[in-house]
């Protein structure tokens, strides 16, 4: 089937198309440069056209979600929508049901979402849930930062074996890249402890976070993976943590990039939570200036924000000691789990409120980061869903970025606490994003950071992943019409995934099976076998399950998109 989306105003930063009136054509699931006269015409006259969105960091599949749904039935009572002829019933607000997750991303015009934290031991479960989520392609990042084998290799600075271990473990788990969460800290939590800063030795391991991050980055580049290391640094949410954050970025500076498909050697995630100055919650203030200065000077860093949306949400992370602190702080219920040899995790509900000074300053810090990082290719739109807010709030965040007027209103009308004025510089920033920058932070830059050459843009041969929004970029004034902006980005006029029309006028009109994207490194199989000879006795001794039950077998992966990489090339 051939289609032509006619006369839209196209923003495609990857191909340097900035608001051109242009037809977008697709055939057999791919973008093409011409179609026959039989092509079905989809009229988009003067409407906003972009590639489908790419979410670089979201928690949507895996055991944390299931535990979250089990212990927060009160969240499932929100967002209930009955089934239709096309869709299954939806439920949940911050931890929606699997079908709801797919439908809601599609309604916002998204096509790809990265699951940001897959414990290898729970990889099977993660993939089962990916299968249950319709419409979006989902790569999953495997957790390596507290893995016992990683700690051992990092201690010995054994980059070569660590690289082979990663390569093997991505095959075993069908993972896409290397995720690091509170390196050393989640392991320390097994002893009721944490690590602080980069040079605090991990209990019983004689290795530091600095060594873990550096060795993993070296191994990542030696393999030439399509994504860089993806780092949730130490000290999340602690006043004064911006120094650890700067240190974490700085320690990567000597690593040379070994991939043509991306620009960065480290991706810093939910940077908002890591940009805090002060020494306690009373003198807590923004450290966004130092962080953004560093990023502006160093193009080897990309980040996503983790914008606070001021909602009641559910926090969930492999940073289990942080979750315990959070539970102590807000007194709400707490779930905690140890994943043997690999990581830990915790879940706590959280109510972010504009009446609370700390939450309001956190809100401001996220926006400061968006507005103070100059190059939109280095900063990406996320809420660390659901930690800082549910992903369905992206349209609202977009409206804040495009409207200084709205931000000023929120500060002046008391929708956020007046501490925002004293403890952040947000009120002084009048930058407003344009549509090109929005397209960059929500699709082009995330695709580039993950080395996805087949999506995030509208060039010929790209997947026909397309979003049309019911706003006229040449007529609208986003600064004043921020409500229209929010509504349009939340209800795509058209969402196309692999050439299939999924959404029309904000409603799901068809569904398709999601696909798992994983990185298959080739060329070091012998080295992997050597490493496995040393790994297996340890595995057999310490894991409570057999290796045969640990592997993710083919039948867990319904529709893989295998990205083949020649190691080191």
């Amino acid at each position: 089937m051939e289609y032509i989306i006619k006369n839209g105003i196209v923003y495609d930063p990857t191909n340097k198309i900035e608001g051109e009136k242009k037809d977008v054509m697709f055939k057999n699931g791919k973008i093409v440069d011409n179609v026959s006269s039989d092509a079905k015409v989809l009229d988009a006259t003067d409407k906003l056209v972009m590639a489908a969105g790419v979410d670089p960091h979201s928690h949507i599949a895996g055991p944390k979600l299931v535990v979250g749904r089990l212990y927060r039935p009160e969240d499932s009572r929100r967002g209930v929508k009955p089934k239709t002829a096309t869709t299954r019933a939806e439920s949940g607000f911050s931890i929606p049901s699997c079908p709801a997750t797919g439908y809601r991303y599609s309604r916002m015009g998204y096509g790809t979402v990265v699951e940001a934290a897959m414990p290898p031991l729970e990889a099977k479960h993660t993939h089962e849930e990916i299968v249950a989520i319709p419409n979006i392609d989902i790569p999953a990042l495997a957790l390596f930062g507290n893995n016992w084998f990683t700690l051992e290799y990092a201690k010995d600075n054994n980059v070569e074996d660590l690289a082979a271990f990663i390569s093997k473990w991505l095959k075993i788990t069908r993972g896409y890249g290397v995720k690091i969460v509170n390196p050393g800290g989640s392991e320390a939590w097994g002893w009721g402890m944490n690590v602080h800063g980069l040079d605090d030795p991990v209990p019983y391991w004689d290795v530091t976070s600095r060594e873990v991050i550096h060795t993993l980055a070296e191994a990542n580049e030696s393999l030439g993976l399509p994504h860089s290391i993806h780092l949730h640094p130490n000290d999340l949410g602690h006043p004064g943590n911006y120094e650890t954050t700067v240190g974490s970025m700085d320690l990567i500076k000597d690593i040379s990039k070994n991939s043509p498909v991306r620009d960065q050697t480290v991706h810093m995630t939910h940077i908002q939570y890591h940009s805090y100055a002060g020494t306690n919650w009373r003198d807590f203030e923004s450290g966004a200036e130092d962080i953004s200065k560093f990023i502006n000077k160093n193009d080897y860093v990309t980040c996503d924000v983790g914008q606070i949306t001021l909602d009641e949400t559910t926090t969930m992370t492999a940073d289990a000691p942080m979750e315990f602190d959070l539970h102590q702080l807000n007194g709400l219920k707490w779930a905690n789990k140890d994943i043997e040899l690999e990581t830990s995790s915790g879940i706590v509900p959280f109510i972010y409120s504009g009446r609370n000074s700390v939450h309001s300053v956190q809100w401001a810090i996220g926006l400061e980061m968006f507005l103070m990082v100059n190059n939109p290719w280095q900063i990406m739109l996320t809420t660390d869903n659901p930690n800082a807010g549910p992903f369905i709030r992206y349209p609202k965040v977009i409206s804040w970025l495009m409207s200084n007027k709205r931000r000023t209103e929120m500060i002046e009308h008391g929708e956020v606490h007046k501490a925002v004025g004293r403890k952040s510089s947000l009120a002084t920033l009048d930058r407003e994003y344009d549509f090109d920058e929005i397209a960059t932070i929500s699709r082009a830059a995330p695709a580039r950071a993950y080395g996805f050459t087949d999506r995030g843009h509208l060039g010929v041969d790209a997947r026909a992943d397309i979003a049309v929004y019911d706003i006229k970029p040449n007529e609208i004034d986003p600064s004043n019409e921020y409500e229209t902006i929010e509504c349009a980005f939340g209800n795509a006029a058209l969402t196309v995934k692999d050439g299939q029309i999924i959404v029309q006028d904000g409603e799901i009109v068809s569904t398709k099976e999601s696909q798992t994207i994983w990185a298959n490194v080739q060329g070091i199989e012998e080295r992997e076998n050597e490493v496995m000879k040393k790994v297996m006795p340890v595995f057999d001794k310490y894991y409570t399950i057999k290796f045969e039950n640990y592997l993710v077998h083919d039948h867990y992966i319904h529709n893989p998109i295998e990205v083949n990489i020649q190691a080191g090339k």
Binding site: Y71, R72, E74, G331
Partner: protein, 269 residues
């Protein structure tokens, strides 16, 4: 004033769900609107007129001017007065689950017993039950930590387990006896029980007051005995007689108070 009377024609073994039939939605309905209304039962909808004959008299400009009267056996009618914000509902029989749940205003009178979750998470208004209530009256729903936040529940009979669980405001008055764990996880508000309590009031309570005028058989460990107070004023209400004051639950650094009528509870001293 508009009086809307539901006279039952037949009962259903599966519960009818009445959450749409509240003054907020029906204040401007005519008889014909009721006759064509499809009521949810299980996973389907059926004509309301199979089950109730509805009489409409008078006029209403707003929900406040509605008096809704339900006659018959309402033992399988759920969500009576659920989420109502104004008006008056009178149920002349025992009612099924979730009566007055999440109501924010107006009043409900039940001339009978109420099943579980009566007045669950209500945020205002008055709920009066002439008979007994089952479990979780005025409580939060499973998982949530915010129960009833405001308003008044009066129970003339006995109350079931976990009355006022996670109570976050408002007042519950039980004139009869109460089963285990009243005021568990309570954060704020007042629970007054005139009869006896089986055991364990106020487990994990953070704040608020529980007054027990009857006999309490067993206490939880997390409460400290304080002084005896004569004719105390509790949450703005005057009580007469001697009360032994306990504070807790220390398991949660709680600042809650349990007041026991001294003459009925000497065995706990």
């Amino acid at each position: 004033m508009k009086t809307i009377t539901f006279n039952q024609k037949k009962t259903s073994p599966i519960a009818l769900e009445f959450d749409e039939l509240i003054p907020d939605t029906i204040y401007n309905w005519e008889k014909s609107d009721f006759d064509k209304y499809m009521v949810p039962i299980g996973n389907s909808k059926f004509s309301l007129s199979n089950y109730f004959d509805v009489e409409v008299g008078g006029e209403a400009e707003s929900p406040a001017e509605v008096k809704m009267i339900l006659n018959g056996d309402l033992g399988r009618v759920k969500y009576i007065g659920n989420k109502m914000s104004d008006g008056q509902v009178i149920a002349n029989s025992s009612v099924d689950l979730h009566c007055g749940a999440e109501m924010s205003g107006g009043s409900i009178l039940v001339n009978g017993d109420a099943e579980s979750y009566a007045g669950r998470e209500m945020t205002g208004g008055e709920l009066e039950i002439k008979g007994n209530v089952k479990e979780f009256c005025g409580a939060s729903y499973i998982g949530d930590w915010r129960g009833m936040t405001a308003g008044m529940i009066t129970i003339h009979g006995n109350a079931g387990k976990q009355l006022g669980e996670c109570l976050t405001g408002g007042e519950i008055h039980v004139k009869g006896n109460c089963d285990i764990l009243p005021g568990i996880h309570m954060n704020k508000g007042l629970i007054q029980i005139d009869g006896d309590v089986t055991r364990w009031p106020g487990g994990q309570m953070q704040n608020g007051d529980i007054v027990i005028n009857g006999t309490l058989s067993r206490f939880l460990e997390g409460f400290n005995q304080e002084e005896v107070v004569i004719d105390p004023t509790i949450a703005g209400k005057s009580f007469s007689g001697k009360y032994i004051k306990f504070t807790g639950d220390i398991a949660r650094n709680g600042k809650g108070t349990i007041w026991l009528a001294a003459n009925k509870n000497r065995h706990l001293l």
